[in-house]
């Protein structure tokens, strides 16, 4: 293709393409203009939320194939040596073979990779993936990149999912996603250097100058800036963001913040480079289970709850198999196998009794660690804890721009 003479290319570059909902839902469809659009990173149009008939229309012709390609985050499934017991059980029960890949290290990077493929209607190499709620997931839903779920095939989800994970603000009625795990962003600290922490104000405590870790993700720091000021992120406005931005800038300019971290805050905390930091619950639980003396608290002003969601890309080759797995993991038995390894909050709360039952059967160290899991408020949080937790605010593109312009200069100064 030579850009100057290829008219489809020129059209793609110069005209916005109007796409009807029908077009967008004709999932396999692929046109030359679509290719050109994808090639230069321009996406298609926003689509309306799927109607009921869209679900039927999509699933009508889909058949089980017996294979499934699953993209997930590292350390996010039960593992014994090189085997995944829960997936093996799945294969034994359903006859579906799973290729499991730890392909997602970071939502932004992963979404950056799959977006051009989805825009062009090409296979991304996975039938099931796990995306955190936030900018990218909102974008994926709005652009019609995710398959509308057929809830008649998700009976275990309906029966066993906790009410807290149903009908989330970013995906009403779980139309496109159901949770894999849930996590909490709170404060972790090293009691060797830091007195007991209850309040988010400790992240602003001058005693810990240069030893405070904050997160690079703007949605994460923004929420903490707002909690510190007593603002509820769900109800926040642009004026609130500016106030939160000022509060966070003050913390940064005072030299309190050592670094705005990604996943690497865990190592920094474990090594003693930082003493107190924003942290994800499961990470700290795993560190404690390995014998590190660290604490995790949900500050009294509030903490952030986030969800890693299973979803099916619109170009999936084996969607029925993907849907089967999505429901399969909502059996309490399987959810228990998963939570005992993953150590984040399971969306199946009845798993707790099963973990306790496993603990009764186990002996020694294994027994203690299972007991610890069942009793941990980080994995099975209390109602009081849950009441303090808020999501990221769901933003439209215009709001997102304003939001990023306020918070990005703080974390990426």
């Amino acid at each position: 293709m030579y850009p100057r003479t290829d008219t489809a290319f020129l059209r793609g570059m110069t005209q916005s393409r109007s796409v009807t909902r029908r077009d967008a839902l004709r999932l396999g469809g692929l046109s030359a203009a679509g290719l050109a659009l994808a090639a230069c990173g321009v996406e298609g149009k926003k689509v309306a939320p799927p109607a009921r008939d869209a679900v039927a229309e999509y699933w009508a012709s889909k058949k089980k194939t017996g294979t499934l390609r699953f993209a997930n985050w590292p350390l996010y499934i039960d593992k014994e040596g090189k085997k995944y017991p829960s997936l093996e059980m799945f294969t034994a029960d359903t006859g579906i073979k799973v290729t499991y890949q730890e392909a997602i290290q970071d939502v932004g990077t992963f979404f950056g990779k799959i977006q051009p493929l989805l825009a062009a209607g090409n296979d991304i190499g996975y039938d099931l993936m796990v995306l955190t709620n936030g900018f990218q997931l909102n974008r994926a839903i709005a652009l019609g990149y995710l398959v509308p779920l057929d809830h008649s095939k998700l009976p275990n989800f309906a029966a066993n999912a906790t009410s807290a994970v149903k009908d989330p603000t970013w995906d009403p009625d779980n139309a496109h996603t159901i949770p894999w795990t849930v996590g909490v962003t709170g404060i972790a600290y090293n009691p060797k250097y830091v007195d007991e922490v209850k309040s988010i104000a400790d992240l602003w405590n001058p005693k810990y100058k240069g030893k405070v870790g904050m997160m690079l993700d703007t949605q994460e720091v923004a929420n903490f800036g707002m909690f510190a000021l007593g603002i509820d992120p769900d109800a926040s406005t642009e004026a609130d963001w500016k106030k939160a931005g000022a509060k966070l800038t003050e913390q940064r300019d005072a030299g309190l913040v050592r670094k705005y971290y990604e996943n690497d805050y865990v190592d920094a905390l474990a090594r003693g480079d930082i003493w107190i930091t924003m942290a994800w619950s499961g990470d700290i639980f795993q560190q404690v289970a390995e014998g590190k003396d660290l604490r995790f608290v949900v500050p009294e002003e509030g903490g952030t709850i986030w969800t890693d969601n299973m979803c099916i890309p619109k170009t999936a080759q084996n969607p029925v198999d993907a849907l089967t797995l999505m429901d399969y993991v909502y059996q309490p038995k399987i959810a228990t196998m998963l939570v005992e390894y993953i150590n984040y909050i399971t969306p199946v709360s009845s798993a707790r009794e099963l973990v306790l039952a496993d603990a009764d059967k186990a002996t020694g160290e294994k027994k203690a660690s299972l007991k610890q899991i069942a009793e941990s408020p980080l994995i099975f949080p209390s109602e009081a804890d849950l009441a303090k937790l808020r999501s990221y605010k769901t933003l439209n593109p215009a709001q997102e721009k304003v939001f990023q312009d306020i918070f990005q200069p703080i974390t990426q100064g």
């Binding site: 110069t14 916005s16 900018f135 050592r258 090594r271 480079d273 593109p397």
Partner: protein
């Protein structure tokens, strides 16, 4: 046929560059002049103003990247020149072994090498820990998340790119011209400043090209070793592209960076006084 041969020789490489360099650059230039957002699509509006906007919005990061690139390059020259000199003139039989040693770090992944610094230089790690307990360093002293750590990481990762071209230039210096200089009563130092150094400058120039450009555009070192005030322009481009999905801004930033570096390099070539220095470096 004979007349066609040169063209046939350039064809594979030329095609490669056109397909994988020129075409994407045309795309990128076009994307940088679009407006819109990731949901509603981008429309070509030839909004040239975006270049002014991104340059003023990210001025700090641009200047900081240039500063780090410059300091890193100067440190690299200071470290690389004596080393290349030693290998070229005193390396003797084992020259190739020494060169292999210089290249050895490349056998380990770039990211892994940088991450290993975090363990080495942790606040209470194996280097700083003992020094602190011995009272040689104050308790709150740290290396990670400082400008020094970022520049150090840059130099560490790109040093071989400086050593190799300087080595090649020095290696080519005919020992007889040095002898001739000495026969003409040049002191050793004079022989170096008037003969060896000028002859090796094309190597230094090539080394500068190969270190300054990637150092300035680097984002790994700043994100792994840097702190809140060490964000480089590469980090901004990454966030604009991957997190914000703001392709026009990311593309405009990349183009502005490329243009600034090209101007810088040509100014430098000119300042060096040899307009043919590019040609010399390629020789």
């Amino acid at each position: 046929m004979k007349r066609l041969t040169p063209y046939l020789l350039i064809l594979p490489g030329g095609l490669w560059l056109v397909i994988f360099l020129v075409v994407p650059m045309v795309f990128m230039a076009s994307v940088s002049l679009q407006e819109g957002d990731s949901l509603n699509g981008f429309v070509q509006t030839f909004n040239v103003g975006i270049y002014g906007d991104v340059l003023s919005q990210y001025r700090t990061q641009f200047l900081r990247s240039a500063e780090y690139g410059l300091i890193g390059t100067l440190i690299s020259i200071a470290l690389a020149y004596p080393m290349a000199y030693w290998i070229a003139f005193k390396g003797g039989e084992r020259k190739s072994t020494y060169l292999l040693l210089v290249l050895l770090p490349f056998f380990v992944s770039f990211v892994l090498r940088t991450v290993s610094w975090k363990f080495l230089l942790a606040d209470d790690g194996m280097v700083l820990g003992p020094l602190k307990s011995a009272g040689l360093l104050p308790e709150d002293f740290h290396v990670l998340q400082t400008t020094a750590a970022v520049i150090g990481g840059l130099v560490y990762n790109y040093l071989p790119f400086m050593i190799l071209p300087i080595y090649v230039a020095l290696e080519r210096v005919d020992p007889r011209v040095i002898e001739a200089a000495q026969d003409l009563y040049a002191a050793r130092r004079q022989a170096f400043t008037r003969i060896v150094l000028p002859l090796s400058l094309p190597g230094v120039f090539a080394g500068v090209l190969m270190t300054f450009v990637p150092m300035t555009a680097d984002y790994v070192n700043a994100s792994i070793l840097g702190g809140p005030d060490n964000t480089m322009i590469g980090n901004i481009i990454q966030v604009e592209y991957l997190t914000n999905g703001d392709y026009p801004t990311a593309a405009a930033l990349s183009f502005a960076l490329m243009a600034a570096m090209l101007i810088g390099i040509f100014a430098y070539a000119r300042a060096l006084g040899t307009e043919n220095v590019l040609e010399a470096a390629a020789r």
